[in-house]
């Protein structure tokens, strides 16, 4: 497999030389996915916390639906966002289709249920332990939700990274709503798909390596933060 070897060494050269095309693609990927994760956290974390401590009719059904949404197929989300943002769609006048903003929207929709669903589980477990104490203080359910959110903060890091990993590695939704336009909406995953089909293996491989390194690095960081926090805060 000299082809693979050659492609790999060229890929490495692209990375180490700081190839501008590669850099632009990586930066756009990070910007889109980080923003999507930020939005998903702002919506998903409080939602998960409230769902964990609240009692209302239909709560079980809501949790089942939320858990089901965690497995949303990216292409379906892409299609739905596409229909909303296309010129004939209800939000067509915003002119967001084929922009990074559309990609952020699609990814945020994709990972909000993941973050909310996992947060709900983590916080509900903690609620079992804290409930009597917090009720003894006279804490309201809303207050308890916020308190628990802060108290399980280290567990949430792992969960947020899972969301980020899903966003950064996803290709279907951003391909549909972003259009994979060079220099505008081309991110790591869509570029890899395109370059592979064109036969430009070095760039595809280089991007693949960067993507792997990012995911690996983030998870290592999360693991260490968790470990340190466990030792420090118990």
């Amino acid at each position: 497999m000299t082809d693979l070897g050659a492609a790999a060494s060229q890929a490495w050269a692209l990375i180490t030389a700081g190839d501008p095309t590669l850099q632009a693609i990586v930066l756009l990927s990070l910007r889109v996915s980080l923003l999507a994760v930020a939005i998903a956290c702002v919506v998903g974390l409080p939602l998960g916390a409230l769902l964990a401590v609240a009692r209302f009719p239909g709560r079980r059904g809501t949790i089942v639906v939320l858990n089901a949404l965690m497995g949303l197929p990216p292409v379906v989300v892409g299609l739905a966002v596409y229909l909303m943002l296309s010129r004939a769609g209800p939000l067509g006048s915003l002119g967001l289709l084929f922009t990074p903003a559309a990609m952020v929207i699609a990814q945020a929709i994709l990972i909000t249920p993941i973050i909310a669903g996992l947060a709900r589980q983590v916080i509900e477990d903690a609620w079992g332990e804290y409930r009597e104490q917090l009720r003894s203080f006279g804490e309201t359910r809303l207050g308890a939700a916020m308190t628990l959110l802060w108290d399980v903060r280290f567990s949430l890091i792992t969960l947020v990274l899972a969301g980020f990993g899903r966003a950064a590695a996803e290709v279907g939704a951003v391909m549909i709503v972003g259009g994979n336009i060079a220099g505008v909406t081309r991110v790591m995953t869509t570029a890899i798909a395109l370059e592979t089909s064109k036969g430009d293996l070095p760039l595809a491989l280089g991007l693949g390596l960067v993507l792997l390194a990012i995911v690996l690095g983030l998870n290592a960081a999360a693991y260490m933060v968790n470990e340190t926090a466990q030792r420090r805060f118990g």
């Binding site: 804290y130 003894s136 006279g138 804490e139 280290f154 805060f233 118990g234």
Partner: protein
């Protein structure tokens, strides 16, 4: 803290029943708990001691019957009662902010919280540990921190559910000292214990629970010397080696 003019006490339980499935955990208890005295609840395992405490504190709702305070508690208003559990639950933050947190929920203004929290830590002898994460403290220290939280709240009533069950004699002594201090400061003490030595030391009156019923209620001296009920006699024979 501004005290409401009317006191919370006495606490009246009127024919309180608490069932789980078809088991009657609490089987018709009527009792009045007045201010001033330290009421200690004893009884064999499964007698319903912890459940009774939770019913009083409002963590459980009676299946039938009523739990009535002299002034009804208003939902959402700061509580004037506190509880220390057998296993204290500490938040993942410093010892000091665990106390401040309880004060915040109780509606104490931010300006007053820290001073009051520090004073509470000093009372239980934990001022040196103020900045340490609460969860890395030892079991005895965590229980003292739980008492500091209760102390800072200056409750009218403090419920304690076997607060020293998992502690060694030294730590137990410390806890008892703080409970005594709260009693002297005017807090009504209602404590569950399975330690009869502790019941003797800490109680003004003893309430014996047996199979979900109140079998006897006597001043501490009489309870141990001349118990009035058959349940109390048997309980003391079973528990005391002499």
């Amino acid at each position: 803290m501004m005290r409401a003019p009317v006191t919370l006490l006495p606490l009246q339980l009127e024919d309180v029943v608490f069932t789980v499935g078809d088991r009657r955990i609490i089987d018709g208890i009527s009792v009045t708990l007045a201010a001033g005295t330290r009421s200690v609840i004893v009884g064999p395992n499964g007698a319903g001691k912890s459940v009774l405490l939770r019913l009083c504190h409002g963590l459980l709702r009676p299946t039938t019957g009523r739990v009535r305070w002299n002034t009804p508690e208003i939902a959402g208003a700061p509580r004037r009662q506190a509880m220390v559990f057998q296993r204290p639950v500490m938040l993942r933050r410093s010892a000091l902010s665990n106390v401040s947190y309880a004060l915040k929920v109780a509606g104490i203004s931010a300006a007053l919280r820290e001073a009051r929290a520090r004073e509470a830590l000093r009372t239980v002898g934990l001022e040196a540990h103020a900045t340490l994460p609460a969860r890395v403290l030892s079991g005895g220290e965590q229980q003292r921190l739980a008492l500091a939280r209760a102390w800072a709240l200056q409750p009218e009533v403090l419920f304690l559910d076997e607060p020293t069950a998992n502690l060694d004699p030294g730590a137990t002594h410390e806890i008892e000292r703080v409970i005594d201090a709260m009693h002297l400061a005017g807090t009504k003490i209602v404590m569950v214990t399975h330690n009869l030595g502790q019941a003797r030391r800490m109680g003004d009156e003893i309430l014996l629970l047996h199979q979900g019923r109140l079998a006897e209620r006597s001043p501490v001296e009489r309870f141990f010397k001349r118990p009035q009920s058959r349940e109390a006699t048997q309980f003391l024979e079973g528990e005391l080696p002499w």
